[in-house]
């Protein structure tokens, strides 16, 4: 019995719903949101530490033991992601608070942001496939609202695509659930893993796993990323940072869970497909990142590249690759939040999104400029920053399983990432100063503070790799050894 496990999901729900009663009190809305996220972050750190020292933690809702009841299972992998997600959402919330969009606040922006986080945390923690679906839906419904909240024309056109594509993939997800339940008679992760291992994953199960691969790829933006750049660039800054940091990562998490815990018996089929999908994603994302002059599009294609990169680690299917992916996932949650906050801030300051219409911003806003440079280097995987460890280990993993094409694609894509962002830096921050200092829009410190915090964290994660290492190693051990997860999730003492 570990009731604390439910708090990362329940605190945002309770706070979000309670805020409906305080519609006309923006101050109450703002600060209770921040307080809720702070407590979620603190609790998730506590659980993370506890899981590392005492092993996998489980909560059976209402005392119904698995495989019959609803369970939450926390292993280090899930908790690392919950902690990172809660932290970045806290920062995005702070940015939203200081940006203070009164109209969106009045129409319950914070409530839906909190419900989105509840869905994300629930998806990381849940111990069965059906509740993964439910948490996906909680997250998606909140994201539909955030997508269209404000009712700008661009939001609505992109919103309708986003909603349709996600409804279709949710339907396929449900279909996959029906197939799994029809063939194996259970939806509990641990029991599914046992039964698939007993059956030795015959072709029918491999076929079902491909269906899940398609569904989660669509959510993660793996190959099926065509919906992503348009919809992410239609959002207000704080929300777009939240989306970029969290939504695709939940799809990636689901891919890791299903293909390390459940369908891991036919890697020559499933993991090869994932590998080629990762390469395609890297290629497509790289082309997109250098093709556009709209900085929001460039940032969105950087999200796509990162997804491909993380899945190279899954496709190489060994301890080093998986560890690298975990490092990179945590890093990417932080850095994509930061990147989108910076891009949004630039657009707020210059009121244009094209990189060839502004220059010399570093004279106007020096701190913003240097933070952008740090972000660029970190995304490119330059050593002292947080991207380095992940890239290195994913590379090691792919080399040791002999996937040289994937290694090539992955590191080539890093060059594209660097190039696409350096291009923004050179065009917008360097060069002739176009805005005289006395006419510039002031960048208040509260708006800059969230960016500074995230920049410090990306440096900290890079320098403090040793500090993170035990958690990552533990997470990778659980992912590589399904029996550890099964024992923790199914053992009824």
């Amino acid at each position: 019995m570990n009731n604390i496990l439910v708090f990362p999901m329940v605190i945002p729900v309770i706070t979000g719903v309670a805020l409906l009663f305080f519609r006309s009190y923006p101050a109450v809305q703002r600060w209770s949101t921040i307080a809720a996220m702070l407590s979620v972050f603190a609790i998730s750190l506590w659980i993370l530490e506890d899981v590392r020292s005492n092993g996998i933690m489980r909560l059976d809702f209402g005392g119904w033991t698995p495989p019959f009841g609803i369970t939450f299972v926390a292993d280090s992998f899930a908790m690392l992601l919950v902690a990172a997600a809660s932290f970045v959402s806290l920062i995005c919330m702070l940015y939203a608070v200081f940006a203070g969009d009164k109209r969106r606040e009045y129409y319950f922006q914070y409530t839906f942001m909190l419900l989105l986080i509840a869905g994300v945390n629930g998806a990381f923690l849940t111990g069965d496939l059906f509740n993964l679906f439910v948490c996906f839906e909680v997250m998606l419904l909140a994201s539909y609202v955030l997508m269209t909240l404000g009712g700008e024309k661009k939001q609505l056109t992109e919103g309708i695509k986003y909603v349709l594509i996600n409804i279709l993939s949710s339907w396929l997800f449900l279909l996959g659930l029906a197939y799994v339940y029809g063939t194996l008679g259970t939806l509990n992760f641990a029991q599914l893993s046992l039964r698939i291992a007993e059956a030795g994953q015959p072709p029918i199960l491999t076929a079902i796993s491909i269906l899940f691969l398609a569904v989660f790829s669509l959510k993660a933006g793996l190959v099926l990323y065509f919906w992503l750049p348009g919809s992410y660039s239609a959002l207000p800054t704080a929300v777009s940072a939240l989306f970029a940091a969290l939504l695709t990562k939940v799809g990636v998490y689901a891919l890791f869970r299903t293909f390390t815990l459940l369908f891991y018996h036919e890697p020559s089929i499933t993991h090869t497909i994932i590998g080629w999908m990762a390469i395609t994603t890297l290629a497509g994302g790289s082309l997109g990142a250098i093709a556009y002059v709209d900085i929001r599009k460039i940032a969105a294609y950087n999200v796509v590249i990162a997804i491909g990169f993380i899945l190279v680690g899954l496709a190489s299917n060994n301890a080093a690759g998986i560890q690298g992916s975990i490092y990179y996932l945590v890093h990417d949650i932080v850095i994509k939040g930061l990147l989108f906050l910076i891009i949004g801030t630039i657009i707020y300051l210059t009121s244009n999104a094209r990189l060839d219409r502004t220059s010399g911003l570093i004279t106007n806003y020096p701190i913003l400029g240097w933070i952008f440079l740090i972000t660029t280097l970190s995304l490119g995987g330059v050593p002292p920053f947080s991207g380095f460890a992940g890239k290195l280990m994913i590379g090691q993993g792919a080399i040791s399983s002999g996937e040289y094409v994937m290694v090539g694609a992955a590191f080539l894509s890093s060059l594209f990432v660097l190039y696409s962002l350096i291009r923004i830096f050179l065009n917008m921050f360097w060069g002739e100063v176009l805005i005289p200092r006395k006419h510039q829009i002031p960048l208040p410190f509260p708006l800059l503070a969230p960016l500074v915090v995230l920049a410090i964290v990306t440096i900290g994660l890079g320098l403090g790799m040793d500090f993170m290492a035990p958690y990552v190693t533990d997470a990778a051990t659980v992912l590589m050894n399904p029996e550890v997860y099964i024992e923790g999730a199914l053992d009824n003492e």
């Binding site: 019995m1 009731n3 439910v6 329940v10 729900v13 309770i14 719903v17 309670a18 409906l20 009663f21 909560l59 059976d60 809702f61 209402g62 005392g63 609803i70």
Partner: protein
């Protein structure tokens, strides 16, 4: 809007009470028989919707001065908090319990905490259904 709906209005005035009673019956019977918060809530909200159809939105809003969005919010809060209530007794989240009591008039009665949870569900359903339908009707 409509000129001559005396019959609809007269029938509705009676029917609404029948529907509300039936809705409450479904809600309470849910523990052991078909029924429960969701179905009970749907039936209850159909009574409110019938009022909106028979009379106009303004007069119903005057009669029932409730913001149904907040009804839904209160419902969700009640359900979730009834789940966290279990934590105070050292039980798992969402644990329920029941006991038998001798009540005057009713005799030996089963009282259970799941009624609280179901009441939250019912309120959430009523709130959501009515809010959705009112919003759709405003668009037409």
């Amino acid at each position: 809007m409509r000129e001559n709906d005396v019959i609809l209005q007269t029938v509705s005035k009676v029917a609404v009470f029948i529907i509300l009673t039936f809705g409450m019956y479904l809600f309470l019977s849910g523990h052991h028989n078909p029924g429960g918060g969701f179905i009970g809530g749907l039936t209850l909200s159909s009574a409110v919707i019938l009022l909106y159809i028979a009379f106009d939105v303004e007069s119903v809003n005057k009669g029932i001065p409730v913001d149904f969005k907040l009804v839904a919010a209160a419902g969700v809060l009640i359900s979730v908090l009834s789940g966290t209530g279990a934590l105070l007794f050292g039980a798992d989240f969402l644990s329920q319990s029941f006991a038998y009591f001798d009540l005057p008039l009713l005799g030996k009665t089963e009282l259970t905490t799941v009624v609280l949870f179901e009441a939250g569900v019912a309120l959430a359903v009523v709130g959501v259904v009515v809010t959705i339908l009112i919003n759709i009707s405003e668009d037409v």
